[in-house]
Amino acid sequence: MRKISRRETLKLLLLSSLGSLTSNSLVFSYEEKKAFQEESFPVLLYHEIAYEPLTSYTVTPEEFFSQMEVLYSSGFETLLPQELDSSVAKKIKKVMLTFDDGSYTFLEYAYPLLREYRFKVVMNVIGSKVGKGWFISWDEYREILDEGLLEIGCHSYDFHFPNWSKKLSLKKFEEDLLRFKEEAFKHLKIEITTFSSPFGERLTSEHVKILKKLGFKHIFMSEEETIERTYYNPALNFQFIPRFNLNHYFSLEDFKNLVMKGENL
């Protein structure tokens, strides 16, 4: 792929921040569009897969099964954040699948299906809830980690509440992340390098500095509701990964438009 100049990069950044790209040959050349096309892809965010309750964070099992079949039969391959640098990542038609929170519905409806498709997935875990009630336990994560399809990310140890960034000092923020990393290493013997901000709260530069200091390479973003379509382009911004929050308001047609548009920019 040819090197993109600074001027071209700014154009692309402007357009990606507007959200949905429209075909605009007056602004972009064919090469620029092609470059963006090859590099941008959708990153999907799920929470609960369940019939009830139906909320902004729920996708029904039927919908999830149908969506994954669309991805498979449309030729999509999945990748994990740790694979973004690989040469294979540049060649495939790709999507990144992520889950937040660690709900047990992942084990009941999502992971059994994902492993049949050999789809990889990131699960951003709330450390303090692991193993409690209907949250997945460390034992259960350990059972499936060996299959090589799952990456564990941090969704806080214990600051999963609204406006946490205003209520939590930077010191507590750092301590909490350290605690998560220690717990994850103790139970799973893995280093955590991915962070997802609870409730999609925006991070300040101080937060980002701490994350970098603690070895987090990728930061997942999300909106509470999907306002703009934002496709991820690692060539433009490696560290911050925007995501589409899926819920049961999305029809399968919406889903197809979402994932295909990431390819047909």
Binding site: E62, F65, S73, S74, E108, P112, E116, E140, E143
Partner: protein, 543 residues
């Protein structure tokens, strides 16, 4: 176990003693004492009537074994734990470890009593979770059992591995409750015999001699409607029907279709489509034929030229009844609309990755109870969205240890995965679980009725859960076939459609296959390859 528990509680769980003429027991629970009394009576009767003192036993099974199982907690306590209610750790009536029937306590000064158990490797869950790090988990359990029965003869009165298409329980060693073909059955049985011998058991009895059509497994039993017609048809999916060393297979005197690429087997089949003037183009569909027996729907796709699945792939859409219902769109970039509502879709792409999809609204396995709120209705709803699902069944629930400190995740089995192979034992591609076979220009497909959501094929009933009804009678089967060139850069998408039938895709161009109902099934038998594997092993052992 509930009956045993109920009996012991009715008798206040008081330790009792019994000294009979031939058997005695000390400090037995009420159920243990009752059994001793019955057996002693039996011995008395036999000797007084016939002058013969036989060996006696009572068949026990491992949920009643006298061993503590720390991984086997009470289901009600588990559910409380999962929803955040702190369980009562002092309660000790665990569902699969709730009672003990300790036959070691039954003594005989005449040496006419021995203990016997049914021991399968995959159930209950403690057979997995207490032996996760063992190289031979089955042997590890048998050793523990035999240790408890030291000095007493211990017979493994029942063990086996079914040759069903579906697996109903996961097992850590791969000795699952189904999902094994007959060669795998034979090999696993040999390994189990070795373990039984190593554990110094007195002997064993393999379950079973023959397949049994009347038996039902927990995964499928609620879909057999009406239940009393189940013996009239065979379900290859159901583990309980498939334990035999002797295959009891539909059709007489032999299989109507053997998945061996022999067009002559299809001469009597129903012709859904026939091209009278083929042009011999790549992927051109020459004929589509349907047949059935008491266990399966068979589909033949005959193509004009030799099939190379790397160059030509296929969708076979199946409408199992009521054509206005179902999914009308295809996946993988196929921009066609089916003229009839499809309930199932075969995607033939190769030996290893071919699969059967189900229309999302008709995916009955997603409505399986035991977790949150299951789907209320399961019937094929009209859709143009292309909502296709894989079919997964849940084999093991989430479990937690008795001390609630360790959890084990649920397990699932993929029913959508299609196996390539032939049903002819002498064919090098022989696989008793084969779903499809491709040879020259023929694709032959064999699908169990139950996999296609039929509740009773003998009376053409399809599972249909809507409002108060649970089934509907099918008005017949219709098939749509598409051949396409796959995109080598974006598998499994289609690059180009090669052919489709009916052409044009119109309702009145499709022929409907309405099969004969039956009241008396036909069947024939065949010794499975597992029989010969066992025969060779036992012969070598003897020598």
């Amino acid at each position: 176990m509930t009956s045993v528990k109920g009996y012991n509680e009715r008798h206040e769980r008081k330790d009792k003693y019994f000294y009979g003429k031939y058997l005695y027991i000390e400090k037995g629970n009420p159920f243990e004492v009752w059994n001793t009394q019955i057996l002693d009576y039996l011995l008395n009767y036999s000797y007084e009537t016939y002058g013969h003192l036989p060996l006696v036993s009572v068949v026990n099974w491992i949920p009643l074994d006298p061993i503590e199982h720390p991984t086997e907690s009470n289901i009600e306590d588990e559910e409380s734990f999962f929803i955040g209610i702190k369980p009562n750790l002092k309660k000790c009536n665990e569902n699969e470890d709730m009672e003990v029937f300790d036959t070691y306590k039954i003594k005989s000064s005449f040496n006419c009593f021995f203990s016997s158990y049914h021991v399968y490797p995959y159930y209950p869950d403690f057979m997995n979770y207490e032996f996760l790090t063992e190289k031979r988990p089955y042997l590890a359990y048998l050793k523990r059992l035999k240790e408890h029965h030291k000095g007493q003869a211990l017979l493994i009165a029942e063990f086996g591995i079914p040759t069903s298409r579906a697996s109903a329980h996961w097992q850590v060693h791969g000795w699952t409750h189904g999902g094994k073909n007959e060669v795998e059955q034979g090999r696993i049985l040999v390994e189990m015999i070795k373990d039984i011998e190593k554990a110094k058991c007195a002997g064993y009895a393999i379950f079973s001699w023959a397949d049994e059509w009347f038996k039902v497994n927990w995964l499928f039993m609620k879909y057999y409607l009406p239940r009393d017609r189940k013996p009239l048809w065979f379900n290859l999916q159901d583990p309980e029907e498939n334990y035999g060393l002797l295959e009891v297979y539909p059709g007489y005197p032999k299989k109507i279709v053997s998945l061996s690429g022999e067009l002559k087997e299809w001469e009597e089949a129903f012709i859904a489509y026939k091209n009278l003037s083929p042009l011999n183009k790549e992927g051109e569909i020459k004929s589509i034929r349907l047949a059935n027996d008491e266990g399966f729907l068979y589909i033949l796709v005959e193509v004009s030229t030799k099939i190379n699945l790397k160059e030509t792939q296929f969708f076979v859409g199946i409408d199992t009844g009521h054509k206005e219902y179902g999914e009308f769109s295809f996946p993988a970039g196929i921009n066609l609309i089916s003229p009839v509502g499809l309930k199932f879709l075969l995607h033939i792409t190769g030996k290893k990755d071919s699969r059967l999809l189900v229309a999302s609204s008709y995916n009955k396995m997603l409505s399986h109870e035991k977790f949150f709120s299951p789907k209320g209705e399961v019937f094929p709803q009209k859709s143009l969205a292309g909502k296709w699902n894989l079919i997964l069944c849940k084999t093991n629930m989430r479990r937690v240890t008795k001390d609630f400190k360790k959890l084990f995740g649920p397990k699932f089995y993929n029913l959508s995965s299609l196996r390539f192979g032939s049903l002819k034992p002498e064919n090098p591609d022989f696989d008793s679980l084969a779903d499809f076979y491709v040879k020259d220009n023929l694709i032959e497909i064999r699908l169990p009725w139950e996999l296609l959501n039929f509740s009773d094929p003998s009376s053409r009933k399809m599972f249909w859960k809507e409002n108060d009804i649970l089934w509907k009678e099918s008005d017949g089967i219709r098939v749509v076939v598409i051949s396409y060139k796959p995109n080598p850069f974006k598998p499994p998408t289609a690059l180009k459609i090669l052919d489709f039938r009916p052409n044009p895709l119109e309702k009145d161009k499709i022929n409907t296959y309405v099969w004969e109902k039956w009241e008396v099934p036909s069947f024939h038998t065949r010794l499975k390859k597992s029989y010969f594997i066992l025969q060779r092993y036992l012969k070598n052992e003897k020598n």
